[in-house]
Symmetry: C2
């Protein structure tokens, strides 16, 4: 693969005229925001829904991924007649800054024309949201009908409510948290160390001079290990057991699975994980993985508000819907409950439901019909 | 550090005269078993307790580690007047084969005088136990008063009961399981991939020709990442939160912790994990990590018995004690319960207790006074 980065973005790109102020105190000039829209904005611009994507997601929420060709990552939720109904709503999804699907990130050119690499400023969830606010401004939308997100997308939705609470009517937060726990940070740190331990990372300066796709010249081995470790946290023990158990791989020669007494992928779960790791490196930039995990680890809405989570929501009158999954051990139900209590303390309208689904954290992306009903019901 | 491997073993070494048959169908000639003993074997050899160590453990259960100088890993449990009382019992602890503390493993010389590396045969938990049986034979012990182990040590204790059930009077199995789950395998596979992704692994052929310590010439970066990932599974979310929460590191210049908006270890939990990873590489051989994790992943006592766990215990009249910890998510209480049911089905005497401790899987190594009482009570 030697495509240049630019053509990856088949959709829209907004380039901000003003530098974007960042939580670090730095600012980022020439910010580009790659985004997709679905449906039609109504005359009074009151039907816009912003969908925020997760760590390794992108703007292609309901359209094919330009690299993998796979359907949009939430095609089951977004489209005509679907729970987020594009016949009624104008749906926006933007690649977060720091990522690698067309929005400004470490693989983007800096002022000197060379890729930023690790010179890119460390960003926060709130910085991602600031870029989205600029996009919503540019689209002429004063107030979003709703901001919606799962996992890191839910953090962004919460950050919208906390920082731009008068710009949203509603926030739908799925399988998310108001702050990264020590265990969350620990897993991310393993991933970062795996990437940075790979000699091909080269201090983040692995982009080829001709601007060819960074996904094929970087620390693929380290990134694959990072993805493998993270992937386990997205699945439940129960889900892994149901899907794979201790089943052995059938061999290439057609013989049935048997222990090889070697280090090939004997167990199906090993083969699956290896595939998850390797295929990820085709579509994601390792430095983006470092920056976005850092942003998530820094996320602590209570801290931003001076220590009390309820205070974070003092500036909004939005209504909220929180959804958790009973098998999600990355952001367990207790995290959503904490948010619900804070919203209650502010007297804000909030519905909170824990859904039963076997898939762990990834449930928000998978076939959970009850989630469809909750989403459709909340947005109508 | 340029010490040779041999002097690492301050204690006893048994070299087996006969080749050791292995589950793979291969056999291993010239097996060396490094072991420690504590206390005195009584005249009728009826007071011997074998302690089996965990994945990264060793024979130095109650004596200082020859590399780190740290006290024995179960010094709180083993010694005069302690729950495993060396005034009364003759305590044996042997380094498992495949490991790197003096017993035969991938760093040991093969027939050609060069280190085995990945030519070392893949071993199983039962193979480790076979070596221990040979040791117990050599010590003139017909029947062990008890076999005791936590985590992988518990797997060995179960394997003793299943395969050499007439050689033990009792088995004490702590924080363990009768088979590795898909999630257990997945975490181990991440570690193996981290090691094998490190170019310094070099197909396992990284030992220096002069026989100097392999721990200093191998894939340290990959091994450190493997250890970091595993270490998270040894701790509970609650324990990590209590110990570290989201507290930030104080800086080397003495200033109080603050976000650096960089990729240094801002959070204390990051710094802790990095230290755990790096310090591990001083004392452990990466290839041993591959082999021992493989042995654990292969472990499935029900499968060995033809599919029914209870059948695994048909050949023993031993009494059992099973201990789990409520915060252990690596081998949760349900795993011990499954074993208890199988033992009940065989009509074997079993006591089973779930202890409450905040430390997760590592609770079996830490200060849990209730565990001391359970161990002392069972062994008396």
């Amino acid at each position: 693969m030697a495509t240049r980065l630019e053509p990856l973005t088949a959709g829209h790109v907004l380039e901000l005229a003003e530098p974007l102020p960042l939580d670090s105190g730095r600012s980022l000039a020439g910010v580009r925001i790659a985004y997709e829209t679905y449906g039609t904005l109504n005359p009074d611009a009151s039907n816009a829904i912003l969908i925020c994507h997760a760590l390794t997601g992108d703007q292609h929420v309901a359209s094919p991924h330009p690299i993998t060709g796979k359907p949009g990552w939430w095609i089951r939720m977004v489209g005509p007649g679907k729970p987020i109904d594009t016949d009624r709503f104008f749906v926006i999804c933007a690649n977060v800054i720091g990522s690698c699907m067309g929005s400004s990130g470490p693989a983007s050119p800096a002022d000197d024309g060379r890729p930023w690499g690790m010179r890119f400023p460390v960003i926060t969830i709130r910085d991602m949201v600031r870029a989205q606010v600029a996009l919503v401004d540019a689209l002429g939308i004063a107030k979003l009908h709703a901001v919606v997100g799962g996992s890191m997308g839910g953090m962004q939705a919460l950050s919208w409510a906390a920082n731009f609470g008068d710009r949203i009517d509603a926030a739908l937060v799925i399988a998310s948290t108001s702050r990264h726990s020590a265990q969350n940070i620990a897993f991310h740190e393993v991933g970062r160390q795996a990437i940075m331990a790979d000699p091909a990372w080269a201090g983040g300066d692995y982009y080829s001079a001709d601007g060819s796709d960074p996904r094929k010249s970087g620390p693929e081995a380290g990134l694959a290990v990072a993805r493998m470790a993270a992937h386990i946290t997205y699945l439940s023990e129960q889900g892994l057991t149901e899907k794979f158990g201790r089943r052995l791989q059938d061999r290439p020669d057609g013989s049935k699975g048997a222990k090889t007494f070697g280090f090939d992928a004997d167990f199906q779960v090993e083969s699956y994980l290896r595939y998850q790791g390797l295929s990820f490196t085709d579509r994601f930039d390792a430095n983006s993985y470092l920056y976005i995990t850092r942003a998530m680890d820094y996320f602590d809405l209570a801290e931003e508000a001076g220590g009390k989570l309820a205070d974070a929501f003092a500036g909004t009158r939005a209504r909220f819907c929180l959804v958790s999954f009973d098998t999600d051990w990355l952001y367990p139900t207790g995290e959503s409950r904490t948010i619900a209590h804070a919203l209650n303390a502010q007297g804000l309208p909030v519905s909170f439901v824990e859904l039963s689904a076997p898939y762990g954290h990834d449930s928000f992306l998978l076939d959970v019909p009850e989630l469809d009903r909750v989403v459709a019901g909340f947005l109508q």
